[in-house]
Amino acid sequence: MRYERPQTATQAAQLLANEPGLARILAGGTDVLVQMKAGMVTPDLVVDIKKIAQIGNIQSEEGGYRIGAAVSGAQLGEHAGVCAQWPGVVEAAQLIGSTQVQGRATMVGNLCNGSPAADSVPALVAANAVARITGPNGTRDCPVADIPAGPGRTTLTKGELITSVFLPARPQGAADAYLRFTPRTEMDIAVASAAVSLTLDAQGRCCEARVVLGAVAPRVVLVAEAAAALIGTHLEPPALDAMVAACRAACAPIDDKRGTVAFRTQVAGVLAKRAAVIAQTRAGAKS
């Protein structure tokens, strides 16, 4: 195995593109090292991206925030601006692992590892986050929603790496929330999860919403019908019931020892409802 620590994203892309064998990008390593230890992957090349300029920084941009791909969960949680603007994204990222794992784990690693149960992904999709990608042919932007391709797979092509994720500006009266169900309160993998981002108008009516489910399908699911059920309402019980029904209809989970299809489907609806109410309360407090 070769270990490289390039200084620029372009160099990283070239190293990845030119490797004939198996290459792995190393961010926090909390998935990569576990997989190496288990013998699941034996990379020929590991490209550590943490020395690339700006990749460990959070920067204000057009009223939103650009989060470098090497920013850890702990670092994200210490940023007052991101916590205020995107509390749901931060709470999702901070659910990943223990204090020790938080010191290393990145949202982009969480996204690119490709687990359908990855905690930060539903919140990033609800936030309409956009990934910036550098590859051998230059730089492009891609919605986070379009990165997962299925369990363990992404739509990134050979040589491409994500350098940052952009969280857009928010209007007044907007907020988000993320909830997951796990058998233990800490250090466990989501059986079902839900992220809701919404905006309330001056009258407290929901005028924009994104409802996203995790761990109930091979990919994260953006449920447009669930958002439509909320828009134009004050999240009264019938609106919430319609949203829950839309969420359950969008579930296509696996059946395993951690949760049956019926259980995951049921819980996804409950979590979406609770997350919507939390987001509403947060948005109300801001407006």
Binding site: L33, K37, G97, R104
Partner: protein
């Protein structure tokens, strides 16, 4: 596999060592630098026995490559005591019998110190959440939490 030379600062001492690119920081500390205070419980980030600080952040050394420590500052349990004077956390763990077999103890001490460095007066639930990634099969955790609380109280009054 080709070994790589790395320079790192461990508990304030500048050190140089060779390591293989796929060797973990845990193995480098134990096998190449002789710092056997850091323990391997699981090797997969679940137990926290291998906890160290890396540039001030608490991490599992089993989930860090040794080569990543090049140019970094590492803190291990060996750096807690001031020569013959045990750190208050170490004394309170002994006095409060907060260990039995002791394999989790170095990691818990390093983790608890990282907490108290940030927050000198954590609540019980803050201590429990912070230490959720440090597993102990012996003590049932209660004495560990109490030892951290009493060490914190002593450090605040010092």
């Amino acid at each position: 596999m080709k070994t790589i030379q790395i320079s790192t600062t461990v508990n304030g001492d500048a050190l140089e060592t060779l390591c293989a690119p796929d060797e973990t920081l845990l193995d480098v500390l134990r096998n190449r630098l002789g710092l056997t205070g850091v323990k391997e419980g699981c090797g997969t980030g679940d137990c926290g026995a291998c906890s160290v600080t890396l540039d001030g952040r608490l991490v599992c050394s089993c989930l860090v490559l040794g080569v990543e420590a090049d140019g970094a500052h590492i803190g291990t349990v060996e750096g807690l005591a001031d020569h013959d004077h045990l750190h208050p956390l170490q004394r309170h763990f002994i006095d409060g019998a907060a260990l039995q077999c002791g394999i989790c103890t170095p990691g818990i001490l390093v983790a608890a110190k990282a907490l108290l460095d940030r927050n000198p007066d954590p609540s019980e639930s803050e201590i429990r959440y912070w230490l959720a990634g440090n597993l102990c099969r012996c003590t049932g955790y209660d004495k560990i939490i109490k030892a951290v609380q009493s060490a914190a109280a002593e450090m605040r009054s010092a």
